[in-house]
């Protein structure tokens, strides 16, 4: 079973060719799964994908940052292999999509397209995966299993039977029906190579801390103190997002079980905040890989994939996620469950609601926080999901349904298992 990786490509766009790009983006947005530019639906093992056209911007020192094109996907297995498949699947569609980018090959070939993209791959440290090892195929098949069982159950009469007896009948039905028999095998384990690398990676932080603790801990405390000093004078931008922006964003929301969220902004000026971001992002990445590995990002159970992408030499950070339900409910989860975690990283962003000691306040200022996120959101019309009808909790329950087809259960366990249906 494959592990999951994140692919991030960022390519500067030639300003005079932006209208051309906008047109391609429109064609792509009409149906991200199937089109002749980049058919995300044809990419094997692609969970989520999005393409963003970031307009030109002026940084805090007045320097101009040109327009950029971002391609992001969450895939089964290595992102390197995924990129090769992407080049093969999209073919000359890539010339249309990336043709307006600076230094795109004049005479494109499969080789130089790949080389162009490889060169623009952005390493991203902070990536969250709802459940490592659960591939697209598994997710889809387990949803089919559920559907088939519910349909079959509607025709059965189990009056008076115990949960154990009903479960036995369900298992017998799965065994007898050819197309479902795969479900009797447990899902494959995650690939050994990944597990080994992951174990070493898990050790790296505690070992590193043990070795460098005498330096790192005082440095971190000093940094926190400096941040606390800056917090006193940091200015918070308040105010409602522009109605046109809200309209553009909402017109793209709430079609599927989940939405794609993209937001970004400038890091507050000065080395203190930059240092905070560059040390916290790897920490968040480590936490996501080793702590938040069981269907929950610090208590939030509605995020399929998320990543924090540092851009423009650390001047900006873009956050992307795929979350269940509406933005309102996502925001509420943030505020109610994980405000401290958001503050940790987002409070380094310019204009964020004021924080204390990096983790307090901030997102807890409900409306200011909701306004801040809306103001910093990028409309993402090109967004793809491989299972638009499934929430993360659906996926978990479907997986639990399959797992429960194996082994012995007490009456109580069997009842709990049946309640998944």
């Amino acid at each position: 079973m494959p592990h999951q990786e994140a692919l991030t490509i960022i390519a500067p766009v030639a300003e005079e060719r932006e209208p051309e790009l906008a047109e391609v983006m429109r064609a792509l947005a009409a149906n991200p799964a199937q089109n002749d530019v980049l058919a995300f639906g044809a990419l094997p093992g692609c969970h989520f994908g999005r393409v963003l056209h970031l307009p030109a911007s002026t940084d805090l020192s007045g320097q101009k940052i040109g327009p950029q094109l971002m391609l992001l996907s969450d895939c089964d297995g290595s992102a390197e292999v995924h990129l090769r498949q992407l080049v093969a699947v999209a073919g000359d569609g890539l010339d249309r999509l990336f043709g307006s980018c600076v230094d795109y090959p004049r005479q494109p070939s499969p080789e130089n397209r790949l080389a162009f993209l490889q060169k623009r791959v952005q390493p991203v440290k902070a990536v969250y995966v709802h459940r490592q090892g659960r591939g697209v195929e598994q997710i889809r098949r387990e949803a089919e299993l559920r559907k088939a069982l519910v349909t079959w159950l509607a025709e059965q009469r189990f009056q008076g039977l115990s949960a154990i007896a009903i479960r036995a009948q369900i298992i017998a039905h799965v065994r007898a029906s050819g197309p479902l028999r795969w479900a009797l095998e447990p899902a494959e384990g995650i690939d050994a190579g990944y597990r080994l690398r992951n174990a070493l990676d898990a050790l790296a932080l505690p070992l590193g801390l043990a070795a460098l603790g005498p330096v790192v801990v005082p440095a971190a405390l000093l940094l926190l103190l400096l941040i606390r000093l800056q917090e006193q004078t940091d200015s918070m931008q308040s105010g409602r997002p522009a109605p046109e922006l809200v309209r553009t964003l909402t017109e793209l929301e709430d079609f599927a079980a989940h939405n794609g969220f993209t937001a970004g902004g400038y890091v507050k000026p000065g080395w203190v905040r930059r240092a905070a971001v560059s040390s916290l992002l790897p920490l968040i990445g480590w936490g996501s890989r080793h702590l938040f590995t069981r269907d929950s990002l610090a208590g939030v159970k509605s995020i399929h994939f998320a990543r924090w992408v540092p851009m423009d030499n650390g001047r900006r950070v873009v956050f992307c996620s795929n979350y269940d339900g509406s933005l309102e409910s996502y925001n509420n989860d943030f505020i109610d469950l994980v405000a401290w975690g958001l503050n940790l990283i987002f409070s380094n962003g310019l204009g964020y609601p004021s924080t204390r000691w990096l983790v307090f306040g901030g997102a807890r200022y409900e409306q200011e926080f909701k306004n801040f996120l809306r103001r910093h959101q990028f409309p993402t019309p090109v967004w793809y999901s491989a299972y638009p009808h499934l929430s993360a909790r659906n996926i978990e329950r479907n997986a639990g349904l399959r797992t429960g087809l194996q082994g012995h259960m007490t009456e109580q366990k069997a009842q709990a298992w049946l309640s998944l249906l």
Binding site: T250, D254, N332
Partner: protein, 491 residues
Amino acid sequence: MAIAAIDTFARLARKVDSLMRGLPVQTPAVEAEDVQGLVLRGYGNLPYALYPLLRFTGPKSAGPWLKRYLARIARGRPHEAGAQTEAFQIAFTPAGLTALGMNADELHGFSTEFLSGMVGPHRSRFLGDVDESAPEHWRWGGPKTDEVHALLMVFAKTEARLSELQAELRQSYVAHGVSEISVLDTAELSRTEHFGFVDGISQPAIDGYHSTDSHLHKIKPGEFLLGYPNEYGLFTERPLLNGTRDPRGILPLDAQGSPQRDFGRNGTYLVLRQLRQNVPLFRETLDKLTRRADGSSNKEAQAYLAAQMVGRWPSGASLFEAPHADDVSKAHSNEFRYQALDPVGARCPIGSHVRRANPRDALPPHEGTEYSLDVNRHHRLLRRGRVYGNALPEGQVDNADRGLMFVAINGNISRQFEFIQHSWLNDPRFNGLSGQADPIVGASNDNQFAPSPKPVSAYCTGLPRFVTVTGGGYFFMPGIRALRFLSELTP
């Protein structure tokens, strides 16, 4: 272990947060004299009501008309039950406030949902106002009907008094250039809605006004009134005006201490939706789903399935407390929590209407704990709906228009009404379910419902939509001083 530590830290951080912000320890008392009475009570003593939808021709018409009725707008003072024979309440749309002379800058202080209204491609999708419930079919409030400026609510003790008031109002419209777009009628007050269930049982109690010991239902005033701290200990966005706009100092000062005048204080948002209930279809569907093997109807099974779908029995008794049969002694009991004794919905289905509309302690994080309840408190509504149309006697079929004039009062439309409507009632994936919108009010024409597992759920499939929306709007119901300010406003 690390996860548990982080979790503990998260909970601690919430506490520290509250301490650091120096939240008011005591909830301020609600200024009931300045609040329109409907916020604080439902006028059970005034069984007759109608709601005219009005349109002003301009400030010259609107202001003086409002001034004329100002003294008669009912306030929230504790009433002497016998004495009250009538009550007026009034609420406005953004267009109505503009007609009264508020300018665009001042309106900007209202919430985005109120300003953009209930109609729009995203909002309709979000609220489930699609297909036959789409605003283009609405009788009022939609794109094809006249723009509403104000909602007047008239309550009376007798039917005769109501007609008198209606006649008097119509004269006043003529005199002031106010036009009546439509009048929404209600039936004589009844606690039982058309599907046969007692409605409106679970109401929050406003901390600072209602005296209650209910830990479950005592909610901060800011959730239902602007200008007071809400459940986050914060003040909800509201229009604050410069002092120069209010030279006579009619409006209260901003309770947060700014030098501005608070137009929002003691006002709130009122959500009105006309919900048509297809009673014949509801009964026919129940019958179809519960027939015996020989094809005969099974009344008892119908009643049970209906109760499973609602989550309460006709008397109002919760299935959580009376899982097998209706129990009138439990009809008013409302302090129960689901999680500890009914985590999988064996008594009251996870997908039942009342368990979705108010899941109490049944949702993450940490189901069954204070944490879960705390989150639930951010999504409560005061409901002030009334039934309209005639009841359909058992065994009869007709095509009459009947249903509920749904009225909800909340301080934050997005976090309260819209959230409940979208994420709890209409989301087919609510709380881990699959393909199940609310079985009673859900916006799905091919819905599913899983009754309590025994021990596995016997799914009901192909459920039609029983409730359609035929009109709706977001209104702002100002406090009494704000009404006076409006009546004297010159643009």
